[in-house]
């Protein structure tokens, strides 16, 4: 998939385009040529590299959110459910 038209000389892609591709880039979902252009842009553009690092930091901070603990009552209910299911299954 080509995401932009090739520009004559200079930057192949604009900063806005580079920033719009960050998520696809991090997912490894860019076509090789697009990935090369993206990386070439980043190599020359401090603003866009900083932006990418900020997105990565945002992902890391998000990853630190601890999934809430399981409510002990819910655990008990579910283990109940499991035992009932086993009884039913064994009497079938």
């Amino acid at each position: 998939m080509r995401l932009w038209r090739r520009r004559a000389g200079g930057h192949d892609i604009t900063c806005r385009q580079a920033v719009s591709l960050v998520t696809a880039y991090l997912d490894g979902a860019l076509a090789r040529s697009d990935r090369d252009r993206f990386e070439a842009h980043l190599a020359e553009c401090h603003g866009c590299s900083e932006h990418l690092r900020q997105i990565e930091v945002a992902m890391l901070v998000t990853g630190e959110i601890r999934a809430e603990d399981l409510d002990p009552l819910a655990r008990e209910d579910l283990m109940h459910l499991y035992r009932r299911w086993r009884e039913d299954a064994s009497t079938d």
Partner: protein
Amino acid sequence: MAVLRRKPLVSGLAPPSPTLDERDLLTRLRAGDEAAFADLVERYHPAMIRLALLHVRSRAVAEEVAQDAWLGLLRGLDGFQERSSLRTWLFRIVVNRAISTGIRERVHVPVGDDELETSDGRFSQDGWWVTPPAHWADEVLDRISAPALIARAREVIAELSPLQRSVVTLRDVDGLSSAEVCTVLDITEVNQRVQLHRARNRIRSALEQEVLS
């Protein structure tokens, strides 16, 4: 052409695919090992409730949906053909149950574009930074576990649309892959990426305010 081969900060840190030890769990489950069930419940029940809340209004109903999905898993164990991971299958059951509970219409979000980058005022009309980003990523990298930052991320996620919230939570908190999220939420890869992109940008921008304030 100068090509930057940078090493991403994040990709190496993604949680490993659950498939391997899930196979073991599956075998134990099928053999009727109660501890294997308890283990799964511990791992996935809270995420299942969050997922159900995408389609139903109240937490109580979401809990019923999740419970119902566990029963669905137990009943379907023998027929489960392992075409997806156990987790993907389980989450998919949750979504199906939540939809058929029918409390709320399915969230529908149109496939996106680069609206975010066009409208947020950070770029000039021809596509360059109006003001280049302030530098703070490196500094924050040293304190990604700071409570104030995590609290801020949590707040922003709570304010996102239900679909964005689900996508970013499944991807960046629960560690699912993009393919798994598409299967679980039954959305296209493009849509998944648009939602994730917007959600991460919102989080980035909130962290920036927190850091620079």
